[in-house]
C-alpha cells in the first residue's frame, strides 16, 4: 500500500529532516510512527499526502509514484487518503454535519446521498446526536471524532493521523484510539504518529521509531510493547 525507498527531505540551509527512509506498509495494516519531537514524524506523514515534496527518493502509494506526481494530480491522490490533525482543523462557523460533509461537497456527491453518508459516519463515531452542534461547543474528544468522521466519510484506503490524541486527556485518548482501531479492523490502512509510549504498550501494533530523521527501529507490536514496558 505504502512504499518508501531511500527518501530524504531537507530544507535549504538546514540538516535533513528525514534521511534514507525505507518503509513498507501493507494494505490494512495499523502502524505507529513514534519518536521524540522533531524526529520527522509529521514530515513523513506530510510526504504521504503531498503536503511536502521529498527531496530525494521514491514514494509509492497504492502503486503510484507520488515523488514525481504532477501538481494537478495531487487532489485525486488526497481523495484516497484521510488525514487527522492534532489541531483538528474544523470550521467553527459550520455545524458538525457540514464539517463532515465538506469532503463530499468537494467530490460532488449529491446532497441527499451525502447527508446519508454523513449520518452513517457520525453514528460510527458516536456523534449522531451532535450533527447540528458547532465544533466549539464540543469537547476535545468529540472534535477529534468529528475530524475522524470527516477523514473517513469518503471511504479512503489510508488514514493518516498526526498526534490525534495530543490535545486530549487519557480517557478521551483511549476513546479516539479505540475508534482508529475499529477503522483499521474495517479494512483501512492506519498510520498514527504519536510520542505517547503508553499507547504503543496498550495497542501492541507495528511501531516505527524515528530519531533525528532516521528510522532507528521497526518492530512488530508485541516486541515494541515489551520494550516499552521494559523502559
Amino acid at each position: 500500500m505504502i512504499q518508501m525507498f531511500h527518501v530524504y527531505k531537507a530544507y535549504p540551509g538546514d540538516p535533513p529532516v528525514l534521511s534514507d527512509i525505507n518503509l513498507h506498509v501493507e494494505k490494512g495494516e495499523f502502524i505507529f510512527l513514534t519518536g521524540p519531537s522533531g524526529a520527522g514524524k509529521t514530515t513523513l506523514l506530510k510526504l504521504l499526502f503531498c503536503g511536502e515534496k521529498a527531496t530525494k527518493g521514491q514514494i509509492l502509494v497504492g502503486g503510484r509514484n507520488i515523488a514525481r506526481i504532477r501538481e494537478s494530480a495531487i487532489p485525486y491522490l488526497r481523495r484516497n487518503i484521510g488525514v487527522v490533525f492534532q489541531d483538528f482543523k474544523l470550521l467553527p462557523q459550520r455545524s458538525v454535519e457540514d464539517n463532515v460533509g465538506f469532503t463530499l461537497d468537494v467530490l460532488g456527491v449529491p446532497r441527499a446521498e451525502a447527508r446519508e453518508k454523513v449520518h452513517r459516519m457520525l453514528k460510527l463515531v458516536g456523534l449522531e446526536h451532535k450533527a447540528n452542534s458547532y465544533p466549539l461547543r464540543l469537547s476535545g474528544g468529540e472534535q477529534q471524532r468529528v475530524v475522524i468522521a470527516r477523514a473517513l466519510v469518503n471511504d479512503p484506503t489510508i488514514l493518516l493521523a498526526d498526534e490525534p490524541t495530543g490535545n486530549l486527556d487519557p480517557a478521551l485518548t483511549l476513546e479516539i484510539m479505540d475508534l482508529l482501531n475499529q477503522v483499521n479492523i474495517r479494512g483501512t490502512t492506519v498510520m498514527v504518529a504519536t510520542h505517547d509510549s503508553s499507547l504503543l504498550a496498550r495497542y501492541q501494533k507495528r511501531t516505527v521509531r524515528l530519531e533525528r530523521g532516521f528510522i532507528v527501529s521497526d518492530e512488530d507490536g508485541v516486541k515494541a510493547a515489551r520494550r516499552m514496558m521494559a523502559v
Binding site: P75, Y76, R78, L91, Q93, L107, G108, V109, R111, N154
Partner: protein, 300 residues
Amino acid sequence: MSALAKVSYFWRSAAGGLRHSPFVHFIAITTIAIALFAAGLARTTGRALDGLMASLGGEVEVTVYVTPELVPEQVDALRAKLETASGGQAVLVKPAEALERLARELGDLGDALAQLPENPLPPSLELSVAPERRTPELLEALATQIRLLPGVTGVDYGREAVERLTAIARALRFGGLVAFAVVLFATIIIVSATLQLAIYARREEIEIQKLVGATDRFVKAPFLIEGLLQGLLGAAVALVGLWAFGRLVGPTLTSLFSFLLGPTSSEPLVRPALALELVMAGGLLGLVGSFIAVGRFSRV
C-alpha cells in the same frame, strides 16, 4: 459524482461568502455601482451630445456661388450635379433674396444697403449635406469637386465651424474614454482587493478543501461566482440609482438644458439597451476582479 451537485455547491458557497463578509462585499458592490452609475450617466450625456452635434452640424451648409450669366437650365443642371455629389438638397438663392436676407441680418444697418448702386451679391445655391458626409475631410473633398464645375465662382462651407465641432466631439469622446478606463481600472483593483480579503478570511476553509482533495478549479469557482454576483448586484444598484436620478433630477435638467439639447434630453435615463449594457459590464467587472484575486491562490 454529480456536476449538478458541484454547481449547486459553488452557488451556495458564493452566497455564503457574501453573507460571511458583508462589509467587504458592500464596499465592492458600492464601488461597482458608483462606476456603473457614472458610466450610465456618461452614456446618456454622450447620447445627448451626439444629438447636439447632429443638430449643430445640420446647420452647416455648403454655399456654392455661381456666375450670374448662367441661364435657368444651366442652374438646374448644376443643382442636379450638386445634389448627386452631396446626397442632399440644393436651393437657389437669387441675388435680390440674398441682399434682403443680409439686410434683415444687419438690422438697422441694413438700410445702408439700399444706397448701393447695384446688388453686389452673386446668385448662389445653398446645399445641405447628408449627415454622414459632414466630416471635415469629406466636406473639403466635396468643395474641391464643386469648385471645378463650370459656372461655379466660389464655395463656402463654414470650414472652421465644422473642424471645431468635430474637434470638440473628438476631445469629448477621448476624454470620456480615458476617464472610463481609469474608473474601470480602479474598480477592478478594488473588486480584486476586496475578494482577496474574502479569500484571506476563508483561508482555513480553503486549506481544508485542498487537504480533502479539492482541485484548484473547485476552490476558485465559488470566488469567481462571488465576483459575478458582486458585479450583478452593483449593476442593479447602479440601475436603481440612475432610475431614481432620472426621476428626481431629470425634469430639472431637462428644463435647464432643453434650449441646447433639444428633444433628446427628454428620453428616459434608463433604457433597456443601457440596462443590458450595465448588467453585462457589471458582471464582467466582477468576474475580471475575482479572476485576478483567485489567481493568487497558491499564496493562501
